[in-house]
Symmetry: C2
Subunit: 152 residues, 2 copies
């Protein structure tokens, strides 16, 4: 469906505004589908993203600072997302012996198993961009990088 029809706004001020709204709307659309896929597993999208970062480090631990560095959304609150994962026993938290200010966070076997389940059962199948060809995906990546190439 065209963005005009999705949000019932037939006219945009210009192509720039239309693309802006389309971009935000489409990102939300994708994330909503992903979140819906995780729901039966009791996981949220930020929790999933943190679990993936932890698996990338495994068997080494990660600190909160490392998680923030790797997260898409730098301003979200990694501490509290780790709280939820710890409650579900998907990660462990121990004071770092080398630096007692820092905290070593590790994914558990249950966490690894959950990621494995998500990836092998194809729950994310309908939350991706498989409608685009390889060439279109590259084109999209190029355009998106260019949007952010504005002066900081």
């Amino acid at each position: 469906m065209r963005i005009e029809d999705e949000i019932k706004q037939p006219i945009f001020r210009n192509e720039n505004q239309k693309a802006h709204i389309n971009l935000v709307f489409t990102a939300g659309w994708l994330q909503l589908r992903q979140a819906a896929a995780f729901k039966p597993l009791g996981l949220t999208l930020p929790q999933f993203n943190i679990l993936r970062i932890l698996r990338g480090q495994h068997p080494l631990p990660a600190t909160v600072a490392l998680l923030i560095d790797r997260m898409l959304d730098k301003t979200s609150n990694a501490s509290r997302i780790v709280d939820r994962l710890e409650e579900k026993k998907l990660v462990t938290r121990t004071v770092c012996p080398a630096n007692r200010r820092a905290v070593d966070i590790r994914i558990t076997q249950a966490g690894l198993d959950l990621l494995e389940t998500i990836e092998t059962t194809g729950v994310l199948e309908h939350a991706n961009m498989s409608r685009l060809s390889e060439a279109e995906l590259r084109q999209l990546n190029h355009l998106l990088d260019k949007i952010r190439s504005a002066e900081e």
Copy 2:
């Protein structure tokens, strides 16, 4: 900056995953800039979006159901966003005389003035996609529409 460098992940599973992450990251990047621009005015992004819908209706009122219908994010809670706008005297709320279940929401002169200020002082100047040409914007709109064209 390329998405690889933004989130310090040098390798993606495939172009699809890379475009997915790039899309979500870029939308967040744009929204963060918009939100920062509104901050000095004491307005949040969802509040701004609702004000714009109300101006589109002005001088007719809107109901909460109409706001939800027009919002980018259907699942957000229009009632409570209107609460905040009402506290700031940017909108008024009165029970609809024709249907006492519904509520007539109207933008005030202060609300109209605030929108005017935002649009004439160019506070959103750095939160747009002006780096893309007209042709690139059209291309982007096409690709985004195609992403969402997947089976529901």
